[in-house]
């Protein structure tokens, strides 16, 4: 049945064959936004179809219409040329649609195997056949090339491993269409490679894949065709081979990016933060570095290398067991973030939803919360002043006026991030710790974050930048420290170090080479 388009070579638009899945002129509105406006798209069996666009362009909504999570207000969904209706996700599931969402749907307290077979445990009689569960899970994991114990409890796994289990779960379902929404957001290089291979294998089996990603390099690496959405409208669907990266970006954001990273160098030879030999019980060991006024100081390293822990120590979240910190030449000792904030440090946390946003506040209140004292007239906050000032800062960050009146939960991820940065602008922070400031936000918003970084440093604010996006880290930093196991291995000018060097040093690949050389020379390396 699935052979309709099987002979179709990937990368070519099959004109004659009936698409496996098709959406025709579907529209979907949410309060205040037209999420999808007359969008059409066809997906053929064996095709890897990328769906790209900025945050808020409607790609996730489109995926959710296919998955039965949302019901379009107009338009049709067709399966093998016949109109289907999905009143709920289970109906889509029954038609063979499997989805991997950005957020996890795993039960943290259950094991990998239990999660993968959740709700569909094989039984012998009335009891669950646990052997079959474990065997099946092992098979799925093997297919993916994953070395994860089927009996491991999900909450004990790393975020990357959890994401892989999520993918394993979706691929283990009987499906003909697999929708992947940002599947690599939490993955490292190696895992991403594995995933790409798996996706190709699944496509070769005749499954259709809808691949949503912000990482355009991945899209070019994996996709056969790409559909670009902008502001809920269809822009184009075209074989990836006929598209250049620059064209794609232009179609996504509607303008040209002259320079991907518009870095300005504003570093002055005046120290802002001096960290000397600090250690914490949380795994920071003898770390020393200096951040100059107006400098972007990058902390590069793998997930779990201790980058975040160094930031936590500076911000007063973890107690120093030794060492000292000076801010503008004066020794400081922060017992809590409260002290750090009072001294003029701000933090843009990695997880903006869990640690950054107040969803019970609108944008202006989210901004002013960092320095309410500024708004006091006598003992009282002047609400009209607050609103005016909050809105001024929001406008400075190009947050759309429609987003000001409502809870920040209605803002896109990029705009939420800008609200949090604006918060520290308002508080007049002199040193900003930015932990993964562009994670999960679209190119347009990323560019704005870069622009803001330039603006901040030009006004004399210093920045500690933590980013897993290594090209970004190297491009936007003045100097970069390589962090591994809670130690700083080296500090180099960001222009003096290549992406390869940084990854090699941060992952310990250099050591292994050295060890290998030493072994070859008959010297036993020390642990």
């Amino acid at each position: 049945m699935m052979s309709d388009g099987m002979e179709q070579k990937p990368g070519e638009t099959p004109q004659t064959a009936v698409p496996l899945w098709e959406v025709r002129s579907i529209s979907k509105a949410f309060p205040g936004v037209q999420a999808l406006d007359n969008v059409s798209m066809a997906i053929y069996p064996g095709e890897i179809h990328a769906l790209v666009g900025e945050n808020g362009s409607g790609k996730s909504t489109l995926a959710k219409c296919l998955a039965g999570v949302h019901q379009p207000e107009s338009g049709q969904i067709l399966y093998k040329g016949e109109v289907v209706n999905f009143p709920h996700p289970l109906a889509a599931r029954a038609h063979g649609v499997a989805t991997i969402y950005q957020e996890f749907s795993l039960v943290p307290s259950l094991t990998v195997a239990e999660n993968i077979y959740l709700n569909r445990y094989p039984r012998s009689g009335a009891v669950i056949d646990w052997d079959a569960v474990r065997r099946g899970t092992q098979q799925v994991l093997n297919q993916l090339g994953l070395e994860i114990d089927p009996d491991a409890v999900v909450k004990d796994l790393s975020v990357a491993e959890q994401q892989l289990v999520e993918i394993a779960k979706a691929t283990s379902l009987e499906s003909n269409l697999l929708i992947m929404d940002e599947p690599t957001a939490a993955l490292g290089l190696v895992e991403t490679e594995h995933l790409m291979k798996l996706i190709r294998r699944l496509a070769a089996q005749g499954k259709a894949i809808v691949y949503i990603s912000h990482r355009l390099d991945e899209v070019f690496q994996i996709a056969d065709r790409v559909t670009i959405l902008k502001d809920g409208k269809w822009v184009t669907t075209t074989p990836i081979s006929q598209l250049k990266m620059g064209d794609m970006v232009r179609m996504m954001i509607g303008f040209d990016i002259q320079q991907h990273y518009p870095k300005e160098r504003n570093s002055k030879a005046v120290p802002c933060l001096e960290v000397e030999n600090i250690s914490t019980a949380n795994g920071v060991h003898n770390v020393s570095f200096t951040v100059n006024v107006g400098e972007v100081f990058g902390l590069g390293g793998m997930l779990g290398s201790g980058r975040t822990e160094i930031a936590r120590a500076i911000y007063g979240l973890d107690k120093l067991t030794s060492g000292s910190i000076k801010l503008y030449g004066r020794p400081v000792r922060f017992k809590s973030p409260q002290d750090a904030v009072a001294a003029g440090i701000g933090m843009v946390p990695e997880n903006r939803k869990a640690d950054g946003c107040f969803f019970n506040f609108d944008s202006p209140k989210n901004i002013t919360v960092s320095r309410l004292k500024e708004l006091l007239h006598g003992p009282f906050i002047h609400l009209r002043d607050e609103r005016r000032i909050g809105e001024t800062y929001a406008r400075r960050m190009n947050i759309p006026p429609s987003g000001l009146e409502r809870s920040v939960q209605f803002l896109s991820g990029g705009n939420q991030q800008k609200v949090i940065i604006a918060r520290w602008l308002f508080s007049k922070a002199r040193l900003l710790i930015m932990d993964e400031p562009t994670q999960g936000i679209d190119i347009g918003a990323k560019l704005e974050v870069y622009r803001v970084i330039n603006e901040l440093t030009a006004s004399g604010i210093s920045i500690i930048l933590i980013s897993s996006d290594i090209p970004e880290l190297l491009a936007m930093s003045d100097r970069v420290a390589v962090v591994r196991d809670g130690r700083i291995l080296e500090i180099a000018g960001a222009q003096q170090i290549t992406e390869y060097d940084l990854i090699a040093a941060a992952s310990g690949a250099n050591d292994e080479e050295e060890d290998a050389e030493k072994r070859a020379a008959g010297i036993t390396p020390q642990a």
């Binding site: 949410f30 309060p31 936004v33 999420a35 945050n55 808020g56 362009s57 409607g58 996730s60 909504t61 959710k64 999570v69 949302h70 969402y101 950005q102 957020e103 749907s105 929404d181 911000y315 809590s336 973030p337 409260q338 750090a340 904030v341 009072a342 933090m347 946390p349 869990a354 640690d355 950054g356 946003c357 107040f358 969803f359 019970n360 506040f361 209140k365 919360v369 960092s370 309410l372 004292k373 006091l376 003992p379 009282f380 906050i381 609400l383 939960q409 209605f410 896109s412 991820g413 918060r423």
Partner: protein, 328 residues
Amino acid sequence: MGHLSKFFRSTVAGPLVAFLVVAAAVSLATPRFLQAQNLANVSLQVATVAVVSIGATLVILTGGIDLSPGSTVALVTCTLAILVKNMGLPLPVGIVLVLLLGIVCGAINGFFSTYGRIPSFIVTLATMSVYRGLAFLITKGTPIFSVSPALEPIFYGRLLGIPLPFYYVVILYSLAALFLRNTVPGRAIYAVGGNESAARLTGIAVNRYRMMAFVLAGLTAAIGGVLLTAWLNSGSPNYGAELGLQSIAAAVIGGASLTGGYGSMIATLIGALTVAIVQNGLNLLAVPASWQEITLGAVIVLAVGLDMWRSSIGRGIGNIFSRRTPAR
């Protein structure tokens, strides 16, 4: 948009509609409800619940819960009776001392649930038992009647023909609303309840404001206790047993979210009024006390339920799905 549609999307609209529906239902069920004498009674009955509900709302806004105010009220009525009647202290001194006692009770709740890191539900469940036990201990279990003739005017006095408790409620709610809307600690309480982690990273002293909410809850419970002593001119370890639940009900019917961060004083006042007229209506209809308690329980579940269902339709797509996935 018109003022009307703006009103209907506001947080007060739901509780107000619920209040009006309940009021209409009660007045249909018994014509005596709308009689002037009865309405005057209701306004007296609501005073204690309303005052105690201020503290309940503050604690709930921080994401905590206080089960103990009913016991604090009992302890306050007993202590005030002993101080004034048995020990012969002047009434104003006695009142100041029991207000301090309320603050101490609140501070104990606050200390263990913030710095002690024990969930406030557990701490106040324990102190609910402890404070009432203390009330039994100091009175040896017997109520103390006819505390002081000076107490009566505090509750039964009138100003411009309106009973004094009306003024207490209006003044205390105005102060509380001003505190919440227009002061740094008020805003911090919302921030702590809205997102504790973000509040901490923004430099807000989370524990201090949690503590403050509990201390203020102790204070409003003590004020409620003084009002109750004046109302009944007596102190008893059995007083206020229903106040803990009723104050939480008032806040929740007013739309306060038990996860913290959402709620307002005016909405809680409407909630307290709703609780009071339900109780009054049942009294007028001569419903036995056991059924009154059952009804209050049902009203709480209904109020929370309606709020959940309303938000799942209204905030709808936004809320339910955005917990897992951003709006688009």
